[in-house]
């Protein structure tokens, strides 16, 4: 969604007012506390290559727990690449290799000893287009726990209900969990995917443009959900919708052409960015 306002000044103030004031205060206090908290995701000069092509280069940033971090930037700038590096979904692409260090909770994600299965249980992911399995709602949410060996029906039911509640979907589906997941609407399917990811009780939730395939109302509901989830999870969201980024995130990272241009509090990025490229992007000059 392009914000097309001709004048630069009014552009800035427009974006500013989009950020709810209560959140702004919350973020500002966290800004001073932030340096004392240990980052849950640390990237230190992390680069990822597909063969000889650069995916991302020299990304250094810290993501703090119980926050929403937005990664913004024009198409093809490496946002999704970086996101997918965190849970090593990029491993699926042939000839991929990396440099630098990417840590989740102090553990190098690309260390040979890292257990991929465990990593993905800790770092959940929600994709751009909702991709529920062609199974029932219950089986979708119970998928990961049952893979982990939880066979007890009662336990599974408890986890399913917990996860669906956390994803704000429980009330809509509780009457018939055996219904096929594909019969749900797009927005419901995406919330189902969120519930499914939450069922592993991850610490981090990665969201790759989760609302881009949804209508505005469904989008709004998921944004509200993100606000609720923030207290228990760390959320990293890639989005090309700047207003969304401004609405939901505490911190924002601006990527361009595979590099991290600027990473700071959302309020600062959108009202008073340090780099010119950032300013050009958030004011709609390009991208």
């Amino acid at each position: 969604m392009q914000i097309t306002v001709p004048h630069r000044m009014s552009q800035k103030s427009q974006i500013q007012t989009v950020i709810p004031t209560s959140r702004k205060r919350q973020m500002d206090t966290r800004a001073t506390n932030g340096t004392r908290e240990r980052a849950i995701i640390r990237s230190q000069n992390f680069s990822l290559y597909y063969g000889s092509k650069v995916g991302v280069k020299n990304i250094t940033m810290d993501i703090y727990p119980n926050s929403v971090t937005a990664i913004i930037g024009p198409s093809g700038c490496g946002k999704s690449t970086f996101l997918r590096s965190i849970n090593r979904m990029n491993d699926l692409i042939p000839h991929v290799h990396h440099e630098g260090r990417l840590e989740v909770a102090g553990q190098d994600v690309y260390d040979k000893r890292t257990n991929l299965v465990n990593l993905r249980q800790e770092v959940g992911m929600v994709f751009q287009k909702p991709n529920p399995f062609p199974k029932s709602i219950f089986d979708n949410v119970a998928y990961a726990p049952s893979l982990q060996g939880i066979r007890n029906k009662g336990e599974l039911q408890h986890i399913v209900e917990q996860s669906l509640r956390a994803a704000a979907l429980w009330d809509e589906v509780k009457d018939d969990l055996r219904k096929s997941a594909l019969a749900l609407s797009g927005g419901q399917q995406q919330r189902l995917c969120i519930a499914r990811a939450l069922a592993t009780k991850p610490r981090v939730l990665l969201m790759d443009e989760p609302c881009s395939a949804l209508d505005p109302i469904a989008t709004g509901r998921i944004e509200d959900l993100m606000g609720q989830l923030e207290s228990s999870y760390t959320i990293v969201i890639v989005t090309h919708n700047m207003q969304q980024a401004a609405r939901v995130s505490d911190r924002a990272a601006f990527f361009c052409l595979g590099a991290l241009i600027e990473y700071d509090l959302t309020s600062k990025i959108f009202s008073n960015p340090s780099k010119k490229e950032t300013e050009d992007y958030v004011t709609g000059r390009f991208g």
Binding site: R113, N115, V117, N118, L119, E122, L147, G149, S232
Partner: protein, 333 residues
């Protein structure tokens, strides 16, 4: 769940995501099974290659006696007299080739014409329904075609088709001589009927895959529908249609039961289609269990080897053609 609290716990190396001991064990077990499952699927895939190699090997090894004893004369020998120890394959090669080629000469135009109708003229739903019905024809077992051949086709030909044919074209060598129901001619017809569904099915798909804009361009230039089909669609579908004909040919060559029930099972090279004949597949089917002596059996297996080689070559050619036309998209069957 307090994230800060769990951050204090020891680093994650093997603890990532392991909320309790059981999930840890299950996860580790699951990861151990990964290479095992891969090996299982690999083994199955490899066994297919092994079976194929073994097949060729067995055919080669078990035909060694007749190959050594008869050499290349086997292929050109005209006498098949097991009692006298005389094994000549030519009558069977002749019968196989003649019946298959004539069957295709009948089936190809019929099949392609039907495919044209189904692809170009028939409304889509009707076309799909008819294609489905014709596919059912392809599913009818060979022995049932043989049954129909013996009890329906042969009498029908004897009473209704052959007499006028003899009257009109009896002077031609291929229509000379008496007709007793079982003959090369009957076999040709049965084979044609069996092979038509393959040609229809594949040709129809190939025709449908010619892009619509080609037809539209032709119509826009004021061509009639038929002209469009003849000058634009068919030429583009040409290679796929040839491929379907080749595939049908390969099937006809290997057809056993229906042929052996109507061909007369006489190892001779006759000049008339009305005479009985024999094919490779038919003689193997008939004489295998009665083959006395190793040379006899070996000769039959060598016949099998010949048939195998011919079929493989023709199948290979057809696959090449299909790949070249429809961009590598393979068809069913």
């Amino acid at each position: 769940m307090s994230v800060n609290a769990s951050l204090q716990s020891s680093g994650f190396t093997h603890e990532l995501g392991a909320h309790n001991r059981r999930t840890r064990l299950v996860t580790r077990l699951a990861m151990l099974l990964d290479p095992l499952f891969f090996l299982l699927t690999l083994a199955c895939a490899a066994s297919i290659v092994a079976i194929t190699v073994l097949l060729v090997h067995q055919l080669y090894v078990h035909s060694v006696e007749s190959r050594n004893a008869l050499g290349w004369n086997f292929l050109i020998g005209q006498n098949w007299d097991p009692v006298a120890g005389d094994f000549g394959a030519l009558p069977f090669i002749f019968g196989t080739i003649v019946t298959s080629i004539i069957a295709l000469l009948i089936a190809a135009p019929l099949g392609i014409a039907t495919a044209v109708f189904l692809a170009e003229m028939a409304p889509p739903r009707l076309s799909r329904l008819m294609a489905f019905l014709i596919d059912l024809l392809a599913a009818v077992p060979s022995v049932i075609y043989g049954l129909l051949g013996i009890f329906l086709l042969a009498p029908f030909l004897t009473k209704v088709v052959v007499p006028p044919l003899q009257k009109a074209l009896g002077f031609l060598p291929i229509f000379s001589g008496p007709f007793y129901g079982v003959s090369l001619f009957t076999a040709c017809i049965v084979l044609a009927v069996m092979v038509v569904p393959f040609i229809v099915s594949i040709s129809r798909e190939v025709l449908l895959s010619v892009p619509r804009d080609q037809r539209e361009a032709s119509f826009a230039l004021a061509a009639t529908h038929w002209e469009t089909v003849w000058r634009v669609v068919l030429p583009q579908a040409r290679r796929g249609i040839y491929a379907s004909v080749f595939l049908a040919l390969a099937r006809a060559l290997g057809e056993t039961m229906a042929v052996t029930m109507v061909i007369g099972n006489t190892p001779q090279i006759a000049k008339s289609l009305f005479a009985p004949g024999y094919t490779i597949a038919a003689v193997v089917a008939n004489e295998f269990t009665e083959a006395t002596g190793d040379l006899y059996l070996s000769a039959l297996i060598e016949l099998g080897l010949v048939l195998f080689v011919v079929t493989i070559v023709i199948n290979g050619l057809s696959r090449l053609l299909i790949h070249a036309t429809t961009g590598g998209h393979d068809h069913h069957g």
